[in-house]
Symmetry: C2
Subunit: 480 residues, 2 copies
């Protein structure tokens, strides 16, 4: 009963399976089953397959189905056929152990409250208007817009962003003296900028200390040497900067991260003069600038000298980092060097670019910012009040703008231990130390309030208080 035995063997060996989604044809499914059997080493190299007529009979298919499947696998290199000889398996899978998956990270306790900085209010993302903008541009885009994208960004968004930056940020974004390009965000824009500087012979760049590590990393990845420069209550110390070999500096003038300092008027002028003296550049990260609570937003430094200042911005802190949309305003003289970096850095998807242009042009962005500013101001007040009552040993700073505050703690406070204890209790915090290039005795926590609801602030601060208390060694109770 060879036929029935073989029948049993082949139907068992080949899991042709039921029709998947009703779309795959029978010969495709047979080819898939044979391919899988070869890959899993159930059909070894050199093994002869039954003649197509025989296998067709055994499986109850027409012979055509089997010849099609064999032909497919011959084309793919899994089978080989010679005239007058059986069709044979011509492939051996690799069973060496390096196909093993890498070890997984251990599971972390769930985050109930997030006071780490960096996110806007994700619950307030204007979903309906964003979808409306995408639908409008998906219908109205010309065919050409769906072709190869302009690597510097779509002209419509570049024009809209230039207008927005002139109108709302006091930028000098006229097309003639500067180049306005679209990028995926501040990090992307910074990587392009640093590559362009490197190509122009600038090898050293200064960064603020403390500062955002990702900016340092982006500069390093572009091949630049990074020099940390301290920040004081007036912002970046330009005297210290002038003592480094840097010819470019990355600076958060509007609301430095994480200290929250606003660069003082004298320092702003001083910094641009420094750039002229060293024939260098200021790279202005317009971080958090849209949210200024005590005053009108300070205009960007870029306007003071568009031939010396790059301006980087994005919608990551105003709408959502998931949109991946930002801009880069650069001195026109840098246009060729920046263009050269486009080779390996694609522009964001065109429909998203057009959607953002529509979103801004219809006034929805301004309306969103106004509402967000009101919401964040009252949330900041609530957080500061709650901290004042619950964590009296802390001193709150960096409250004038942005989406985070700085909670200074007494020297010797175990902020690292507090962050750990808080995480174990479901509260995410950020240690000021994590943003420093050089050690300091100052202790503090960076508290972001963008993405926490007002009702969650009291319980989050209560957990923060507990975490701080738990890391202070309590005086021993007297025995009896």
């Amino acid at each position: 009963m060879a036929v029935s035995q073989t029948n049993l063997a082949w139907t068992t060996l080949l899991d042709v399976g039921p029709s998947e989604r009703g779309r795959r044809r029978l010969h495709d499914r047979l080819a898939h089953a044979l391919r899988t059997a070869i890959r899993d080493d159930r059909l070894a190299e050199g093994a002869a397959l039954p003649p197509s007529r025989a296998l067709a009979e055994e499986l109850g298919y027409s012979r055509w189905v089997v010849t099609e499947a064999y032909g497919q696998l011959i084309a793919e290199g899994y089978l080989s056929a010679r005239v007058g000889s059986a069709t044979r398996v011509s492939w051996t899978p690799d069973t060496s152990p390096d196909t093993a998956p890498p070890p997984r990270a251990p599971a972390r306790p769930p985050i109930r409250y997030d006071l780490a900085p960096g996110l806007p209010d994700l619950r307030a993302f204007p979903r309906r208007r964003w979808a409306d903008a995408v639908r409008a541009v998906t219908g109205s885009a010309v065919h050409y817009d769906l072709g190869l994208p302009d690597p510097t960004g779509h002209a419509a968004l570049r024009t809209t962003v230039a207008q927005y930056l002139r109108r709302s940020r006091g930028a000098d974004a006229h097309a003639a003296s500067v180049s306005v390009s679209v990028c995926a965000g501040v990090t992307d824009g910074l990587v392009r900028t640093c590559r362009a500087l490197r190509a122009e012979g600038i090898a050293d760049v200064a960064v603020e200390d403390p500062g955002w590590g990702r900016l340092r990393d982006a500069a390093t990845s572009a091949g630049l040497r990074v020099h940390p420069v301290p920040v004081d209550h007036d912002g970046l110390r330009v005297d210290d900067l002038a003592r480094t070999p840097a010819r470019a500096v990355i600076v958060g003038a509007a609301h430095q991260f994480p200290t929250g300092t606003v660069l003082s008027p004298a320092r702003r002028a001083r910094l641009v003069r420094w750039a002229r003296e060293v024939d260098g550049f200021v790279i202005e990260d317009d971080y958090d600038a849209e949210f200024r609570y005590d005053h009108h937003p300070v205009a960007v430094m870029q306007g003071m000298d568009p031939s010396r200042v790059f301006l980087l911005g994005s919608v990551s802190k105003t709408l959502s980092p998931a949109l991946g949309l930002g801009w880069l305003v650069a001195p026109a003289v840098m246009t060729p060097a920046l263009r050269a970096t486009n080779l390996v850095a694609a522009a964001p998807p065109v429909l998203d670019q057009l959607a953002l242009a529509t979103f801004i042009d219809r006034g929805w962005y301004d309306a969103h910012l106004r509402a967000a500013r009101r919401r964040f101001r009252s949330r900041r007040d609530l957080l500061v009040r709650t901290l004042g009552a619950q964590v009296p040993e802390g001193r709150v700073a960096s409250t004038a703008a942005g989406l985070h505050i700085l909670l200074h703690l007494p020297d010797g406070a175990d902020t690292r231990g507090a962050v750990k204890a808080a995480a174990a209790a479901g509260l995410r915090l950020a240690d000021l130390d994590d943003y420093r290039a050089k050690r300091s005795a100052e202790r503090g926590l960076v508290l972001g309030y963008g993405n926490i609801s007002d009702t969650d602030i009291p319980p989050a601060v209560a957990l923060l208080r507990q975490a701080l208390r738990s890391t202070v060694p309590r005086p021993r109770p007297n025995a009896d």
Copy 2:
């Protein structure tokens, strides 16, 4: 009449202008006008501004408007004020000539017909369904999805792409043995792959010759040395590859660009064995693979050895390059090195990723591909027929798959001249020579038919014929 003179001077100097969009407040507009006057050097450094009360009177504003505007510009570093002294301009704009814009490229004649390769049918982009998919996910995404994106891509799209690649491309895309990540397209995926290889100590990579220059450039930009390897009628010559120091090779197995060769079964097996022998990798660019007309699509090589083959793909040739969405399937052993490249390469926007997942999951992608395949097959037939009638000296090849064909021309044909003559007549063509690393006597044109309408093919081919004729020196007519 000093007051009236000054009044005239200040109202002339400061173009406060009408309310812009009705949103900007008066003090903002005054600050803007002052800032612009300083930047344009109409108010020189050191110049004293009128006392706020005087300027307010002259302009007819309340004094508060002027003190707000002065305060704003003091904060920005444009003005300085000392107690008991006038508010003075403290900034000088840079008037050096390096702010001049770079020279513009000369205007080109408009393109009426596009036979250059690289684009799908942009008129057939499924606008409505794409907008529906975006709307659906914009409404249904959880808040967390709008936060910091996973740099390897959203899990929903990674799962959907893995299923699609298993089902339609015969890939081995199980999460355990490989890492599936989302990227902005094939170039982006290749840059990441090359950086990861470089980090793992691989410094030499081979590419196909002729081939797509952008792939070479991407490898070079990642710091790899590039070795061109010839392609014959069976695809990449693995014997020649084995004589290079390369330990990785970028190959278009399904439809090589621009020759259109399908890598032969023997070569496929040979190539993967080569990778095992040199402890190296094959980087499979699954270019044009979805459009195969004479046979079912050949499964990817990646399935033959997922520990040795990277698989790169995108929707650029199936939907639109403007979407900026692609994938990278990599051996699990490369996961850490690939993760390290994420620092400076953001994932595509999350809503687009979710939209593509929905688009595939609802069966819309398969339906689009089926319709496109039918459309392209009949368009290819029309193009081949028209060329046969109009350009009999040409020999058509590379027709089995993809969105371009190769038109071989007699040795000595002036293809460069023909491309130029065609461009002057409004027809875009691509010279085979432009894709070569090494010179060759073979002459040919690469004709893309993805983005030309059927009705435009006859006039486009007529222009092509004229361009070819115009570059052949005509025999002189006898002088009667």
